[in-house]
Symmetry: C2
DNA sequence: GCCGAAGTTAGTCATACGATCAAGATGTTT
DNA sequence: AAACATCTTGATCGTATGACTAACTTCGGC
């Protein structure tokens, strides 16, 4: 029974919660299952967190930070088209590399919809905002309409969500890697056409 | 207290189950809630169905049939490109028109993933098979590789899923109608390029 | 007016939940 | 080594909610 500082314990609980949410959904993520996944006692969970709510609050914050990090690290700091493509690819690749995070994210969005929970939706609002920011920065030297940024952000979201649903449903890693390429091609083809008609508008 | 034949009662329970699943998830879809939604007594449910499992079995069959119908009705019986586009558009439009069905579908796919439930996945397997069949028929006069059919079916699935997640999350009908057009454009642009290099191959 | 189908009431029984406590173990400070 | 804060545990409480059932009442055709 190694003694572990509460700060690290909390970290363990957050990651354990992600695993359990991925496996059983948010409603199925009970304090007992999370404690077991964290190799801790149920009472330990309440020693680190006043309530299940408090833990979930940290889980949401962790998810938001993770999305933000993935988007930032994928940012090619290049042209708008390249930046957009790399963000899309980065998110899809992260889903493949971290299926538990991906599954937990989709459980979260589904749960948030049911409960009309703003804190859940906020995670994805922040992610979309991060994408928009990166795209705006990338197009600084050659500005485009804000609506164009929104549209690109929407398509990135749609393609990554659609990819994620398929990957999580069938869990075929080899197929998923190939689908990343197909999805990226779909995106590139559209974006080239979308940006071409207005190379130097306004 | 109108007396209703058991056959129609069963139908009511199926539709009530869809509503409850959409609102509370599959795990949250209890017999009590379903009975209440159907304006029936809890015991009535067990009078019409031996068990909750039996009811859900009918719900899955209903979902599979609905997908099949939507795809069939969207089939333009025209070129491959047009058929594919209209199926994509038909599915997206049905999601917008029937948000409860859409939400229940996404709950189902999420639940099936967690439980590794083949019966849940089968609903979507059947839908994909329907799409493939329609695409193959549409390309009969000008055959394409089976891999091309698979790829188009995948992209239709990805785009409709991604669209659905967004629509269900934000529930903005006006935005969704506009996003149907954007998504369709993304698809058309890609498919034109995808089919162009091989207009009369083999 | 009777008889079976349709519908209702009021429960049983079991399980699982979040939360809390008293008590003990461990490590650190003095 | 005493005193103290930190960490760990098993047991337990009250609740709520689940699927399902037995016994009863009403209705409609004959």
């Amino acid at each position: 029974m190694a003694r572990i500082p509460a700060a690290q314990r909390r970290n363990d609980f957050i990651h354990a919660a992600v695993e359990v949410i991925a496996a059983h959904g948010i409603d199925g993520a009970t304090t007992r299952k999370i404690a077991e996944q964290a190799n801790a006692n149920l009472a330990m969970l309440h020693y680190c967190y006043d309530s299940k709510e408090a833990l979930f609050s940290d889980v949401f914050a962790y998810a938001a930070t993770t999305y933000s990090d993935v988007i930032r690290k994928s940012d090619a700091h290049s042209t708008l088209a390249e930046t957009a493509r790399e963000i899309l690819r980065g998110v899809m690749q992260y889903y493949v590399d971290s299926p538990s995070f991906a599954a937990a994210s989709f459980e979260l969005i589904s749960w948030a919809r049911r409960q009309h929970e703003d804190r859940g939706i906020a995670v994805f609002d922040e992610a979309v905002a991060s994408v928009r920011r990166a795209l705006t920065d990338a197009s600084a030297s050659n500005p485009v309409q804000p609506e164009t940024i929104d549209e690109i952000a929407y398509v990135i979201g749609t393609l990554s969500d659609g990819f994620g649903v398929n990957w999580l449903t069938y869990g075929d890693r080899a197929a998923a890697e190939a689908q990343i390429d197909v999805t990226t091609t779909v995106f590139d083809t559209w974006l080239a056409t979308r940006l071409a008609p207005l190379p130097a508008a306004s």
